[in-house]
Symmetry: C2
DNA sequence: GCAAAAGTGTTCCAAGTACACCCATGG
DNA sequence: CCATGGGTGTACTTGGAACACTTTTGC
């Protein structure tokens, strides 16, 4: 087989920033790194890209290894290639961010990694340049969610408007007027009101809603304003 | 030196999608590939990442090699890693897109590459998956320019409002009411009106404007609506 | 019966849109 | 003097923002 001669070959890894929402706080999932260097330090879930694997495949595999989940929202974020970012050997890292329903995440599957959810405001020191990766992912989720309805990926199929509002407030670290929020959200036509209520958070109960998947996919690229003055919050 | 054992090492390349605007049409700069495979086919400007080089450094080096330009707008776009994208040997490509002032581009510097500007609507067949890269870059420039004042990077330091409007119309393949366009653009406070006029395009002449760099950098992250209903155009 | 969360409407203001005429100049 | 492109203002519509009270129900 012919090769490109005289060029250096490098290691290629994928690292995943996995977001979840517990009803109150936006969190990311970290693991204790299982090998040297930096063994037992907090780290993003990652792995080397295998010879026959695309980048998307690698990120999906890595996400499944840790969470047991498939078919979740996963998007390429940025590629980090500073020559010294890994002290052992130059390694390029393609980062992906994932949005998962924290309830579907199965703790047991992944116990070898000792994974833990950390609120975004209390992320521990991470290895290498992973701090930068997390910062970038935070920015990106805020940016994208200001324009596109991606945050639904963090909620169960049935959710209430107070839950949804709490999610937006948590992502943007702000408070929103509930009347305006409901108005804006319902005006998108993305939500279908269900007949049953969630009584876990209040005595009266809040109606469940679910996504209108037709509208959801059709309007995903449109600019939807879920957030007032998003530019001010990024 | 310790190494990560048993992992495959890969080639890493950077490819640049270089945009320019000639006053009428949005174009990209392509070269005739100088080596096998696909020698003499139209291709993006690219190159292998060198051992001591970051990705940003590599893309700047490659851009300078072809255009002679430094310090221009250059942004990482996406990383392509399909295992079969390069038939010779697996090569990861980190793509960047650049916005340059086509007048500053110096033809002579790069004559070994036989570069040529192609209107976006008449891009020839490209090697490997570079067609996908160009498509993605087109989407990204439209997306980003709908919200941020990046298109100024395609113009000279002094430009007229008709020029600017023509640029937006060309990027979005649409027409815009000039009264509303001027109003929106001037309302951003980003432009400073100069005293002299460009008489090359009309007898009366159009006033030159330049960017207010203070406001430009301060408002770069804000969402500015240069385009009506941008969501409809992407 | 009361505390706690859910649900609902209206007024006001700002921004966007549609739209048509005059101006300056070189030929 | 006229053809060509440059420049300007207004009325209207729409979407976002501010804002307070009623409803339900478990305890």
């Amino acid at each position: 087989m012919i090769k490109y001669s005289k060029q250096t070959r490098l290691l290629l890894a994928v690292d995943c920033i996995i977001f979840g929402f517990d009803g109150d706080t936006l969190k990311i999932l970290l693991i204790k790194r299982g090998f040297q260097p930096e063994k037992d330090k907090w780290s993003l879930m990652g792995g080397f890209v295998q010879p026959a694997e695309s980048l998307d495949q690698a990120s999906n595999r890595i996400l499944k290894q840790l969470t047991g989940l498939e078919g979740v929202y996963l998007e390429q974020l940025h590629t980090f290639g500073n020559p010294l970012r890994d002290p052992i050997e130059r390694t390029i890292s393609v980062t992906y961010f994932a949005l998962i329903d924290i309830n579907k995440y199965e703790q047991q599957l992944s116990s070898d990694y000792h994974p833990e959810w950390f609120p975004l405001k209390r992320v521990p020191k991470l290895i290498f340049d992973q701090q930068d990766m997390v910062e970038l992912a935070k920015k990106r989720i805020r940016y994208k969610a200001a324009l596109h309805p991606i945050l639904f990926e963090l909620l169960p199929a049935k959710f209430t408007l107070p839950q949804l509002q709490s999610l937006y407030e948590s992502v943007y670290n702000t408070t929103i007027d509930k009347r305006n929020f409901r108005q804006r959200v319902l005006a998108t036509g993305l939500l279908i009101k269900l007949d049953d209520k969630d009584k876990s958070a209040s005595k009266r109960g809040a109606y469940y809603y679910q996504l209108n998947m037709q509208h959801y996919y059709a309007n995903f690229q449109a600019f939807l304003n879920f957030i007032p003055n998003p530019g001010n919050l990024l």
